[in-house]
């Protein structure tokens, strides 16, 4: 504490109406450190970051940069102070190119009236190459979510900032992309830039950061050197209660029946996926891992009729199914939960009850084509109770809920049709630790009742901690299957990236056929 902190927040309080988001928060960022900020969703992390970046104004308290009090009235002022924020939510112009997006803020500051596109693209490509091989002349709309996230990060790198705030930068990244990002973050640190790193992933925090600050319910709980704490300590302080086990127990070996619920044979779409075959057994949670873009999502979409398949059969409990569109899949008992919760999962401004009933409209409809609103409310209440959705009432819009509770509503929506198989794409993305483990427990309970669960995830700890078996996808085919005893982060990464000793792949293939 000898040097002057580059950024200091003193007794900052922020309330929205009657709701206190931050209460007398103190926070110090030393020069050249990577400072992790942890807390459940709603703990006030994003609010504080938005205050530092000039998006929001505090009600009380002050902010000091290099020891001098400043008033950060707008994001433009934050930029001139050298503070850059990478938002958790992607905020890019989809119709502009990657290069144009990256230099949006920089262009705004430059006083030249004309654009020099040649220089712009060269510079942009230079920055982008450090992260990932993305052509900066492509339109952002054509990129996948993980690439868009990289553009968002690259955008911040183009500013000369002294303080860089990364709000869950790896939420949508694959393991390899995340590793590239960590390298850059370390380079930035070596260049004397101070970084605030917000994440839910303990492994990242402990490998990357120097200090960690924990927030809970809008208050500062503790700031510690990473070397002095364990991941368990941090998690315990975040939730304010003991999480004895982050993941629910796996399926007991004696409970493994081998009776398949869902059988997929030779599934291809002639484009992204090729000859995928697997069985989902009763009571198990089957994980699907692999790099983003490897075809994981496409497999799920092909199974449930959202993507046309060129060959392949899907059978439920041995009975072949004809699934031409998603309606067929739902009728057969297969539902899909999209990875893009706000984009295609929930109806954000409709009520909780209306969200839960959407797949089940037919049974809720009376003889005259009228909706039985009492049955709808009963259905909603039943699932809200079963899933422990924390809310103000079933008539409240889904937008009033936290991310974890929104996800529970999305799951409830699927459960309302009493499915036999649920395919879940990134079921816990962007959800805080507490809600995450509730959802994991819920999935395990569902599996125990005999519903087949397939979880597609980019988070290795989730795949390994939750699933009984993991299929790893590479370039549209199954690169290998790992059972409980074979699972490790290394094994998954090797299969996913293809840097595998050949015998390992062979073993994986054999396991898959069996």
């Amino acid at each position: 504490m000898t040097a002057q902190p580059v950024l200091e927040v003193r007794r900052v309080t922020k309330h929205f109406g009657a709701v206190k988001a931050l209460t007398e928060v103190n926070f110090q960022l030393e020069r050249g450190e990577i400072h992790a900020l942890c807390g459940e969703n709603g703990a006030g992390k994003s609010t504080l970051m938005n205050i530092i970046a000039g998006v929001l104004q505090p009600n009380e308290g002050e902010i000091l940069v290099d020891g001098a009090p400043v008033k950060i009235g707008s994001p433009a002022i934050a930029q001139t102070l050298g503070i850059g924020l990478v938002h958790q939510e992607i905020a890019l112009c989809p119709d502009a190119t990657v290069a144009e997006n990256m230099f949006m803020a920089a262009t705004n500051r430059r006083r030249s009236p004309l654009m020099n596109y040649g220089a712009l693209e060269r510079e942009a490509q230079g920055v982008m190459n450090r992260l990932a091989p993305i052509d900066v002349r492509r339109k952002v709309a054509d990129l996948g979510i993980s690439s868009q996230q990289l553009v968002e990060i690259a955008k911040a790198l183009t500013l000369d900032c002294r303080v860089l705030i990364l709000d869950e930068p790896t939420a949508a990244l694959t393991e390899a992309e995340a590793q590239a990002l960590f390298g850059i973050v370390r380079d930035l640190k070596a260049a004397g830039i101070s970084i605030i790193y917000i994440s839910h992933r303990m492994a990242e925090i402990f490998s990357l950061c120097d200090r960690v600050t924990v927030f809970r319910d809008g208050r500062h709980v503790v700031t510690e050197k990473i070397a002095d704490v364990t991941p368990d300590d941090v998690v315990r302080r975040m939730v304010g209660r003991e999480i004895s086990q982050l993941y629910p127990p796996k399926q007991a070996p004696e409970a493994r029946s081998g009776e398949p619920i869902l059988s997929v044979r030779n599934l291809s779409d002639g484009d992204r996926i090729d000859s995928v075959s697997f069985d989902l057994k009763r009571g198990e949670i089957l994980g699907i891992g692999g790099l983003i873009g490897s075809g994981r999502t496409e497999i799920a979409e092909a199974i449930c009729g959202l993507r046309a398949k060129s060959t392949g059969e899907v059978a439920l409990r041995g009975k072949p199914q004809r699934i031409a569109n998603y309606r067929d899949a739902v009728n057969a008992g297969i539902v899909y939960l999209s990875e893009d919760r706000k984009g295609s999962g929930v109806f954000i401004d409709l009520s909780i009850a209306q969200n839960i009933s959407v797949l089940d409209l037919k049974t809720l409809t009376g003889p005259l084509g009228l909706l039985n609103s009492r049955a709808e409310a009963d259905l909603a209440r039943e699932f809200v109770r079963r899933l422990g959705v924390r809310m103000g009432g079933i008539d409240m819009p889904v937008s009033s809920l936290s991310g974890g509770n929104q996800q529970k509503v999305a799951i409830a929506k699927q459960l309302a049709v009493r499915p036999q198989v649920i395919l879940m794409d990134e079921p816990t993305r962007g959800i805080d630790v507490g809600a995450k483990s509730e959802i994991h427990r819920l999935l395990r309970e569902l599996a125990e009742t005999g519903i087949g669960i397939v979880v597609i995830s980019s988070e290795l700890p989730e795949l390994l901690g939750l699933c009984d078996r993991v299929l790893v996808i590479r370039e549209g085919t199954i690169a290998g299957a790992l059972d409980d005893t074979e699972m490790s982060e290394e094994a998954v990464i090797r299969l996913a990236s293809g840097v595998t000793p050949t015998d390992r792949i062979a073993a994986g293939r054999a396991a898959n056929v069996a």
């Binding site: 709603g42 319910d217 998603y326 295609s344 999962g345 401004d349 103000g392 929506k413």
Partner: protein, 329 residues
């Protein structure tokens, strides 16, 4: 933020309290306040005759507003409603003059309006254009059609039989049929929008089309039929106007679409889709009608009227936006 920590309680909000928070209540209050002021400002305002004239004046437009509101909920918009109203009117009118029975002619006019809706729906759902451009083109094309049918001159329909004229001019136990038709349409669609499964799909599609598609809802079908419904109701309004005026003018309804859209938006329909109520939209058109009537009674020049209405639209939408913003944060 605090919702995270909110306890899982189900508070039953009393019905009266819920009404107090509704946007409709605000509109009713504004309309009543305006009425109160006007009743002092002009002795003619609070007369039975003026009330009835106001109600009559927005009844027929109200039928169109119902269709527009449902279309806005699904995320669409229809700029062609004014032209379609006129089209139904001149088509039915010219068929009548050609010797067709007026009821049959009216039915043909309404069905032809539905056809226009189908054509627009085709371009929106199959070709993949957006509602704005499609209906902008339709607005001009259909207006042209009206001029072609009438060769640009108003059709005089004084020979319409009394039984048909009664629809627009007659009364039932003292209540004009026009108002009865309007109230029936409003009650029917308000009910359907609240209770019918088919109309719930309109909300799902408008709120999040992709999520609706992933839920197995045929969103294109929904959009198609709502587009058709909007044009059909415009057609209905067209033949009611014909009966009421005993004439069909090829320039009738120019600019009507703006009034209709303004009313729906003042009443709470979102141009982004997903929200809107029939009651709100009707109150929206009532407000615009009360304002127009007030301006006339106060001898305000007609040249000022559009400007004032535009300002009211801007104010209403701004107030709503600010209220929502505070709630959302």
């Amino acid at each position: 933020m605090a919702v995270d920590t909110m306890v899982a309680t189900e508070r039953a909000v009393p019905a009266w309290k819920r009404i107090g928070t509704m946007r409709e209540a605000g509109l009713i209050a504004i309309i009543l306040a305006l009425g109160l002021v006007m009743s002092f400002a002009s002795p003619h305002f609070l007369t039975f005759g003026n009330m009835r004239a106001m109600l009559m004046s927005f009844s027929v437009e109200g039928i169109v507003v119902v269709g527009m509101t449902i279309l806005l909920i699904v995320g669409g918009i229809d700029l062609a409603v004014g032209s379609v109203v006129c089209f139904a009117m001149v088509l039915a009118g010219s068929l009548f003059l050609a010797g067709v029975d007026p009821w049959t002619a009216s039915l043909v006019g309404i069905l032809a309006s539905s056809m226009i809706g189908m054509i627009m729906g085709f371009f929106v759902t199959v070709v993949g254009l957006n509602h704005f451009i499609t209906s902008l083109a339709a607005m001009v094309i259909v207006r042209g059609l009206c001029l072609v049918i009438t060769k640009g001159t108003p059709l005089s329909l004084f020979t319409l039989p009394a039984s048909f004229k009664a629809v627009g001019q007659g009364t039932f136990h003292g209540v004009p049929y026009v108002i009865l038709i309007f109230v029936a349409v409003v009650i029917l669609f308000d009910f359907l929008l609240r209770r019918a499964t088919a109309f719930r799909k309109v909300f799902y599609t408008g709120s999040n089309e992709k999520a609706a598609l992933y839920s197995g809802i045929k969103t294109k079908q929904v959009k198609f039929w709502v587009t058709v419904l909007c044009s059909t109701l415009a057609g209905v309004a067209g033949v009611v106007y014909m009966s009421r005026f005993g004439a069909a003018t090829p320039t009738f309804g120019v600019g009507m679409e703006l009034n209709i859209i303004a009313a729906a938006v003042i009443g709470g329909a979102s141009l982004n889709g997903g929200s809107g109520t029939i009651l709100g939209a009707i109150l929206g058109i009532a407000l615009l009608s009360v304002v127009t009537s007030s301006l006339i009674l106060l001898d305000v020049s007609v040249y000022w009227q559009d400007m004032i209405k535009g300002c009211i639209l801007l104010a209403a939408v701004s107030i709503d936006h600010l209220l929502h913003k505070r709630k959302a944060v």
